[in-house]
């Protein structure tokens, strides 16, 4: 596929070439025609005039001899570049003006036949006041010649009558050929120049077409990359200007709706953040008293108290997660980094939740890394919690130092031996509030756990992803090495 520029240039060049070729061709052809016409007329007239002057009015009643024919021939070849033969028809054969006939420059037999009236050769004839003069162009050894042949007429009382004498003149056309050659050369040079000019014009035109196209392309690219403010300058009233106008109005509409959507999303998120924040104060009070409630309620009230305590804990998790995710949304989440012994951190995290018996660990020893311990713990707790809840034992936590392909860092894998996550919902596991089972209206968790875990990984500059496994579920966390601040 050629570029627009190349296509424009090619089209311009083709048009220029064709136009100059046609023009030059026609001009050349006309000039050549006129030139040949002129030469033919000149030669024919010359031959006629010379014959009238040199042929005696009365031929002797005797044999036509070379002596008689020679002067006529000489007169006919007077002009440079011409040769001539004069022949006389004798009862004993042809008398010639001297030179051997036909000479090495062959006079076409057709012309001779025409002169002698053998057959009709009208295409060679030029009738002139009752006299027939024939001519034909030939090329001999690369040089063009005009061959003129005519019977010699004698004046009689009833006009002119044909005599047994024939005259032939060969006129060289080399000068004319040279002139035409020169002309062809100048036409070619002129045509070449025209093509060059056309190419230049094509480039200019391409530039003027391509510049707005390029600007449009850049603006469209910017639009794709999220720069919704990008507009293009509208110049002139052509199709490109119209295109630019359409682009601008589309971009404007896009920007307006995207801005509106963003504003809606922002206010929705702000709403979530505000609501969660507001809920925390009563939750603080509830959390403070549920322990007492649980410990002191007896009888049927104990059941109620346990329920309240349990639900308060769940509410705390949910609101904690909502606040956490709204911090990410607001871009306010910050890392509190510390240099930690990661296997120790993992063991502590498991022990804190009484998971150390349920989880198998395969941890590279003495692996130190710079992480946010709280966030790392959240990720691990979420992954292991999910594996214990939805998977089947054994649940394994594996920690390794990582070098490739993502770069130096740590790699943590949590995998179970359960049935695994169905393929069709794998890509949704990190979505917020995504429920694998639509019938399950209420889950144990907040529905935000994996979304937060992934956001936490990304806050570290790392990644959290679901591995493509045939059995079981395996999540992998990769965190890059974070250099200590040079404070």
């Amino acid at each position: 596929m050629m570029g627009l520029r190349a296509r424009l240039v090619a089209a311009f060049a083709a048009v220029a070439l064709l136009a100059s070729a046609i023009t030059a061709g026609i001009a050349y052809w006309l000039v050549r025609l006129a030139m040949l016409e002129r030469v033919q007329n000149a030669v024919v007239n010359d031959v006629r005039t010379t014959l009238n002057q040199t042929v005696p009015t009365q031929l002797p009643n005797m044999m036509l001899t070379a002596d008689l024919l020679q002067p006529i021939s000489t007169a006919l070849a007077r002009q440079p570049g011409r040769r001539s033969w004069v022949l006389g028809d004798q009862p004993g054969g042809w008398a010639t003006s001297g030179a051997k006939f036909p000479s090495h420059m062959r006079i076409p037999p057709k012309l001779i036949a025409a002169v002698r009236g053998e057959g009709r050769h009208d295409e060679l004839a030029r009738p002139l006041r009752g006299q027939q003069i024939y001519f034909q162009r030939i090329t001999y050894r690369g040089v063009p010649y005009l061959v003129v042949g005519t019977p010699v007429y004698l004046p009689t009382t009833s006009g002119r009558t044909a005599s047994p004498i024939e005259a032939y003149v060969i006129a060289s056309l080399s000068r004319e050929r040279d002139d035409l050659d020169r002309m062809a050369t100048s036409v070619a040079v002129g045509g070449g120049a025209a093509v060059l000019v056309a190419l230049l014009l094509a480039l200019l035109a391409a530039r003027s077409v391509l510049r707005p196209v390029r600007r449009l392309a850049a603006a469209a690219q910017g639009l794709g990359a999220g720069d919704l403010h990008g507009r293009v300058e509208v110049r002139g009233r052509d199709e490109l200007a119209r295109l630019a106008r359409i682009f601008n109005s589309s971009a404007e509409a896009l920007e307006a709706s995207v801005t509106e959507l963003r504003e809606m999303e922002r206010s929705a998120r702000r709403f979530v953040a505000d609501v969660s924040h507001e809920l925390r104060t009563p939750l603080t009070a509830m959390t403070a008293v549920t322990d007492a409630l649980e410990e002191e309620a007896t009888g049927s009230a104990a059941t109620a108290a346990n329920l309240v305590a349990e639900e308060t804990r769940r509410l705390r998790t949910l609101i904690g997660h909502l606040l956490e995710i709204s911090r990410f949304d607001a871009g306010a989440a910050a890392l509190v980094l510390d240099d930690v012994d990661v296997p120790q951190l993992i063991r502590q995290s498991l022990r804190l939740r009484d998971w150390q018996e349920k989880v198998e660990t395969d941890l590279a020893p003495q692996l130190r890394a710079r992480v946010d311990p709280r966030r790392f713990d959240m990720i691990l707790a979420n992954l292991v919690g999910n594996a214990l809840k939805h998977g089947e034992p054994p649940v394994t936590v594996r920690l390794r130092r990582s070098y490739v392909p993502d770069g130096p860092g740590i790699r943590l894998r949590v995998f179970d031996s359960g049935p695994g996550i169905p393929k069709e919902i794998r890509k949704h596991v990190f979505d917020r509030f995504y429920k694998a089972d639509a019938a399950r209206t209420r889950s144990e968790g907040s529905g935000l756990g994996l979304a937060i875990a992934r956001a936490n990984a990304e806050l570290h500059g790392g990644e959290l992803y679901l591995l493509d496994t045939d059995t079981g579920t395996a999540f992998e966390l990769w965190l890059p090495d974070i250099p200590a601040e040079t404070a």
């Binding site: 322990d291 007492a292 509190v336 980094l337 930690v340």
Partner: protein, 227 residues
Amino acid sequence: MGPVATILLVEDDPSARAALEFALSRLGHSVTARETGELGLEQVRTQRPEIVILDVMLPGIDGVEVCRRIRADDSLPIILLTARSDDIDVVVGLEAGADDYVVKPVEPRVLDARLRAVLRRVERDPGDRSTHGDLVIDRGTMKVRRAGEDVHLTATELRLLLELSRHPGQVLTRQQLLASVWEHDFLGDSRLVDATVQRVRSKIEDVPSRPRFIETVRGFGYRFVAP
């Protein structure tokens, strides 16, 4: 349950205040609750509590400012109640001299454990007195003297300095210090250590930005160096 503490609770929300007061009282503490920073400061002056639990978000002068004003002339232990662990308020509050912080909503037993840790006295050891250049650390009197002058450290600052100086030349990680000084059983906030180290340095070092006693060991933690 251990010894009972007199606590000043400064919290503006009535139900949170009442609930926390109830929960702490139930755990055996003697609690006085105040709703603004101004009233809290007045309470500190009139009837000095053993520890202050201070909400960061207060109408009028906020918790961080209250903390700063108390610290101006008092080493009274302070625990901040904050909405977010990664709030800038936490850092500012710790720099202002708070000993620890907890995130709301907090479970009463967690708060109880924290305030007991802050209040725990370091065991005195009359025979233990170490001199490091012009710095004298006396474990018998719990006094630190620098070039012959008393250095006023809060309980937490003293505990940190004692912990570090007990292992001269040895690197202690932040998590180790959080476990030993703050008694955080797990995943403490390293900023607590950093802020407290800064405060100790500002009191015992000539040039806090180029410390002689407490060195930062990048990638690991802190080390006490006896000059």
